[in-house]
């Protein structure tokens, strides 16, 4: 419908060329990414395009893309631009347009009737086709994104204003620091802790007290969906971008309960989640910082100054660390050279120049670096707990997974209904200092017994509140994985 509307515009003198050229350029770029990375174009993908940062975007640019867009977008656009287009005038022109439109509609309707019996099952069984048809997919997705973005009132609904710290907080003078690490593009199946053949977790597998949850599903297949979804109280079934944007989230509820909340970001932003809490962007390189190289910083930079921040804080802290993690396609840029343990690795974003093995090796090195980063975070929190009289905990989960060539699909962002498992099965793990679990009466053995149970991002909102003994009416005990594992206070 929208495609037709656009081409309707194209039949008038002053808009014909711009509309046709815009369609040609958009379609050629979309077609390149669909063909090269096996992605589809939907609302979430358009949201990614609008909300990504320059560094992420430039990683996707390469000569093959330039040539492809030049051949199928720029060259035809030049021909259109140089055309001396004749527009039928007056009554005759209107009649001509009506005739062509009527004939086209008639032929299309007739053919649809003739082939409906064959077309219907094919389209029903392969629903991804509607996301592949270019440029219709781009126009539909853009409309959906803009409708969500600006189609609703900009009033943020309150949530959990009744939140207070529960009985476990009474008679305790030690502060608490809870670190929530939001991973990026880490898929569960490439974690050694989940049974992967390569030892991608040499450090975490020796971390005492770490609880690894092996079966966790993400809310979405892209950061722009998963991050707002998992921090919201909506759950996957009720989630929409507009609902989440205009309702307070987990970080607000924690603030209401008296926590100081800080979001530290080494990614492309918090997708609106941190709008009402403190925010630090550490993704911009600083000359001389040992954790920055070239035009970006490694995740270890998220830990810069953290011990001092913990030591000097006068409040109970919740710190969110948003990783760059395993974001592709330039996996080899995500880790320092000393973590290039698996190889040879693919060092370009042009996957057709690399073997699947080299792409997977580069990806595994990013998981190895995340293993180091998480382990270092735990060591830091353990040390703070012992020396600064602070009760500490860390919860880690990834926002979504990644495809590494299975079924010739790469990257992520597939529509959830037919997304490959690799894009939606994510790692999740928990570490608590002894004092933290004692203080909140958490039975670790009970939690360990849940390692093979199925969880999802829906559990995050309620479990963080449950773990921190926050009493509020918005906490659903059924989704709180600590609920049955907290012994009587």
């Amino acid at each position: 419908m929208f495609f037709n509307a656009c081409l309707t515009l194209a039949s008038f003198r002053h808009v014909a060329k711009p509309v046709l050229i815009a369609l040609l350029l958009t379609a050629s770029a979309a077609s390149y990414f669909i063909h090269q990375y096996g992605i589809v174009i939907d609302k979430a993908m358009i949201q990614n395009v609008f909300e990504t940062d320059m560094r992420e975007a430039t990683e996707l640019l390469n000569w093959q893309m330039v040539l492809s867009v030049a051949a199928f977008g720029v060259l035809p656009s030049l021909l259109v631009a140089r055309a001396n287009v004749g527009f039928p005038q007056g009554v005759r022109g209107l009649a001509s347009r009506a005739g062509i439109a009527g004939a086209s509609l008639g032929v299309a309707a007739l053919l649809l009737l003739v082939f409906f019996k064959s077309l219907a099952p094919a389209l029903r069984e392969h629903r991804e086709l509607r996301f592949l048809l270019t440029p219709t997919n781009c126009i539909h997705a853009l409309y959906g994104y803009l409708h969500n973005r600006w189609g609703t009132p900009a009033v943020v609904a309150p949530l959990g204003r009744d939140a207070i710290k529960g009985p476990a907080w009474a008679a305790h003078e030690r502060k608490t620091v809870t670190v929530i690490v939001v991973g990026e593009t880490a898929r569960a199946s490439n974690f050694y802790l989940n049974g992967y053949a390569r030892n991608t977790n040499p450090m975490l597998s020796h971390q005492e007290g770490l609880i690894n949850f092996a079966r966790v599903r993400s809310c979405g297949t892209a950061t722009a969906v998963s991050v707002p979804c998992l921090f919201s109280a909506l759950g996957q079934d009720n989630y929409s971008e507009s609902k989440a944007r205009f309702q307070e989230n987990l970080l607000d509820v924690l603030t209401h309960a008296g926590f100081r909340v800080l979001w530290r970001d080494n990614n492309s932003g918090c997708k609106g989640v941190c709008a009402r809490v403190a925010y630090e962007d550490v993704s911009v390189p600083v000359v001389g910082n040992p954790h920055c190289a070239g035009d970006e910083c490694y995740d270890e930079r998220l830990l810069d100054g953290l011990p001092e921040l913990i030591r000097n804080s006068k409040n109970d802290l919740v710190i969110v660390l948003h990783q760059k993690g395993s974001h592709g396609p330039a996996y080899a840029k995500r880790y320092p050279q000393e973590f290039a343990r698996f190889g040879p690795v693919c060092t370009t974003s042009e996957f057709e120049k690399c073997s699947r093995e080299s792409i997977e090796a580069a990806y595994d090195n990013t998981i190895l670096y995340t293993d180091y980063f998480l382990s270092k975070t735990i060591d830091l929190l353990r040390h703070s707990s012992e020396t600064d009289q602070v009760d500490t905990a860390m919860l880690y989960f990834s926002d979504h997974g990644e495809s590494l060539g299975e079924g010739n699909i790469y990257l992520h962002g597939a529509p959830y209904m037919f997304a490959p498992q690799q894009q939606i099965e994510v790692p999740m793990m928990l570490w608590m200092s002894d004092q933290f679990s004692t203080r909140f009466h958490v039975d670790r053995t009970c939690l360990q017994a849940k390692r093979q149970q199925s969880f999802s991002h829906d559990n995050i909102f309620h479990s963080v509140l449950g773990m921190l003994n926050v009493n509020t009416t918005v906490l659903n005990p059924k989704l709180d994985l600590f609920h049955a594992c907290v012994r009587g206070a």
């Binding site: 495609f3 037709n4 081409l7 309707t8 515009l9 194209a10 039949s11 014909a16 046709l20 369609l23 040609l24 379609a27 050629s28 979309a30 077609s31 669909i34 063909h35 199928f72 035809p76 021909l79 259109v80 140089r82 055309a83 001396n84 287009v85 004749g86 527009f87 039928p88 001509s96 347009r97 062509i100 439109a101 086209s104 509609l105 032929v107 299309a108 053919l111 649809l112 003739v114 082939f115 064959s118 077309l119 094919a122 389209l123 069984e125 392969h126 991804e128 086709l129 592949l132 048809l133 270019t134 440029p135």
Partner: protein
């Protein structure tokens, strides 16, 4: 036709048709690959269905 200034003349409906054909073919290779699989493969007896679908796509964009 092309003149020395690299300018050529074409009627609007024909230009729309040309762009529609280009969009439906060169920029939709993945769509056709999946569609042909979904339709049961690229055999001679599927030719009417594939040609018909192509015509539906082009005609629907020609409604302008």
């Amino acid at each position: 036709m092309l003149n020395k200034n690299f300018s050529w003349r074409i009627d609007a409906p024909l230009l729309t048709l040309a762009v529609s054909v280009l969009l439906a073919t060169a920029n939709n290779v993945k769509f056709w690959t999946i569609f042909i699989q979904a339709a049961g493969g690229a055999s001679l007896d599927k030719l009417p269905l594939l040609a018909g679908t192509f015509a539906i796509l082009v005609c629907s964009s020609m409604l302008a």
